[in-house]
Structure formats: structure tokens, C-alpha cells
């Protein structure tokens, strides 16, 4: 297949997925698999699973990371760039429009009352997500994970520690733990 055909298809597929996917990165990655593995057969199933794992383990938005791995796999650096641009355009345009309306309408009684109520709603959504994720961590039955979770919460919520430091400390802890495990296994 000619390269510009791949790039064009990649651009419009990614643009479409990004414009119409509500519900975050995990959903968009699943839809990417459907498009590029099941429908177009451009990527093999196993390889796609590995690509998704890379997208999820890297920092940053999963939708953007997913676009990068798929674009890179299909057409190298240029493919990655095309996929990123297509992923960014829809939210960029939509939020630009929203920000215009936000400034015009925030003081409107009905809009501000709706937004105020939705703050309690989004709080409930976050609480529910945290509940699920927290249960997963507790189910690991690892005292170290529980302590990391408790201390990080105290540091972020009550001590106002910059969250970047929490990430760095926990990443360093992860390195130490992995090295210790390796050494134990080697003995």
C-alpha cells in the first residue's frame, strides 16, 4: 500500500475516534484495536496488545499515547506525528469553543446552577472511580502498597506536598523494590 494512502487513512480514522469517543483513554484504545486490527488488519492482535501495554505504561494521556504507538508502528515518526495531530484537533477545537461560551454564560443563573450541581456529580464520579481503584490496591494484599497509598494521601491532601515529588519518590521506591526482588530470586 502506498504510504500517503496509509497516512490519510490513519489521519481520518484517528480524527474520527478522537472526536466521538467519550469516556477516556481506555475506551479509545479499545476502539483503535477494533479499527486497526479487526477491520483494517494492519496490525496483528498480539502486537496490538503489546502496543496498548506500552501506551498505558507511559506517562501522559492514554489516547495520545495510543495514537503515537499505532502511528509509529504503521508509518514511523511521520505516522506518529499524523496520528497525534489528528487526536489533538477535536478536543482542541471543542474546548476552544467551550471556553468562549464559558466566559459568556458562567454568570447566567441557569448555567451556573447546572454547573454547580454538576460539581457534586463529578465529585461522585471521582469518588466512585477512587473506590474501585482503591479496592483493587487493597486486594493486592501487599502491606507496602497500602502504606504507600495511605502516606501519599496524607501528603497530597493534608500536607500540600507537590504531587510531582510523590510520583518521584514512589517511582524510586519501585526501582528499589524491583532490584531487591531480582536479587532475592537470583539467590
Amino acid at each position: 500500500m502506498k504510504k500517503h494512502v496509509i497516512l490519510r487513512k490513519l489521519f481520518f480514522s484517528t480524527l474520527y475516534l478522537s472526536a466521538f469517543t467519550f469516556g477516556g483513554g481506555y475506551v479509545i484504545v479499545t476502539l483503535m484495536k477494533k479499527k486497526f486490527v479487526d477491520k483494517l488488519h494492519w496490525i496483528e492482535e498480539n502486537e496490538m496488545l503489546d502496543l496498548v501495554a506500552i501506551a498505558q505504561s507511559s506517562p501522559g494521556a492514554i489516547a495520545v499515547n495510543g495514537a503515537i504507538v499505532v502511528g509509529y508502528k504503521l508509518a514511523g515518526i511521520l505516522g506518529a506525528l499524523v496520528a497525534i495531530i489528528a487526536t489533538i484537533i477535536p478536543p482542541f477545537v471543542i474546548i476552544s469553543l467551550v471556553s468562549v461560551f464559558y466566559n459568556a454564560f458562567r454568570d447566567n443563573f441557569i448555567i451556573s446552577s447546572l454547573l454547580e450541581g454538576m460539581q457534586a456529580g463529578v465529585g461522585a464520579v471521582i469518588a466512585s472511580v477512587v473506590f474501585d481503584m482503591g479496592v483493587d490496591v487493597v486486594r493486592e494484599k501487599s502491606a507496602a502498597s497500602d502504606i504507600i497509598m495511605a502516606l501519599s494521601f496524607i501528603a497530597a491532601c493534608f500536607l500540600d506536598v507537590n504531587v510531582v515529588y510523590i510520583v518521584l519518590v514512589c517511582a524510586a521506591l519501585g526501582v528499589v523494590r524491583t532490584l531487591l526482588q531480582k536479587r532475592r530470586r537470583a539467590k
Binding site: 503489546d50 501522559g60 503515537i68 447546572l114 450541581g117 456529580g121 461522585a124 497530597a156
Partner: protein, 185 residues
Amino acid sequence: MIYLQLFWSFLQVGLFSFGGGYAAMPLIEEQIVTRHSWLSMQEFTDLITISQMTPGPIAVNSATFVGIKIAGIPGALVATFGCILPSCILVIVLAKLYFKYRNMQMLQGVLGSLRPAVVAMIAAAGVSVLVTAFWGDEVISFFGTNWVLVAIFLVCFVLLRATKLNPVFVMVLAGVLNLGGTWVI
């Protein structure tokens, strides 16, 4: 100068948010509310709400929203670029390493230790969202509490746990309930 600040702030958001979805939220709060005061906590909570209702990652939505507010369209472009730059570099490096060695033991180990911290940080950001909803900019007190919003929060939480309702629908319901509530009272 403002462009450089926007770029640098969102670069940190892009670089340190592991786990997708809400993981970026505490980092965005740190940068744009606590550190630079580009948004009030109220505006930040609105932004998270709007992000939930529109397509696109929270980090990219925030970069666009804050960028435009602080420095117009060029600001939005610079902030968005900062936010995706770490991904561009790290994802490609990781993909190369992965295809070469097919071994991600160290990365898995690091992510394993980060996960509990990420949950805790999202929880902390959730607490600040709720504090803003229940008490606004006032000091936390019993009589200063917006009990209508506390009730809406509880109803929504129960709905989310007990049914399979779409979160966006629950949020819209919360908005409508509050509109109805303020009308009655």
C-alpha cells in the same frame, strides 16, 4: 515569558501523570490552581466537569482551556504541545526498547509502586473538588455547608455504585437536580 511558563507547567503534567484518565487531575490542580493561580478552584472544577462531557483527554482539554484564558490561541498551542511532548519522546523510546528486549520487568515494578500513590492523589484531588462544591470559597463549617449539593452527591454516588448508569448522564442529572432545588428553595 508566559508562554514559557505554560509550556513548562504542562510539560510536568505530561511527564508525571501515569495511568491515564484521572491521573493527570492532581498534577493539573497543582500547576494551574496552587502554583500559578491561572484558574480558581471553582473554575478548575468546572473544567473537570466540562472535560467529562466532551471528547478528549483531561490533560489536553485543560491545556487548551487554560492556554486560551491566559494567552489566547498561541497559549493554547504552546500548552498543548508541552503536555504531549513527553509522551511523544517516551512512548517511542519505550516502543523501541520493548521491541528490542521484550522485557518490561523494571517498568512493571515501577508502575506497581506508583499505582497506590496515583489512587491516593486522585482521591486527594477529589476531596478538593468536593470541598469546593460543598463550601465554595468559604471556611469549612456546619452552617456554611451547601446541603443540597451534599444530598446530590450522595444520590449520585449511590446511583453510580448500584446501577450501570453512564457517568455523564449522572452528572447531567446532578446539574438538573440542583437547578430544580434552587428553584424550589
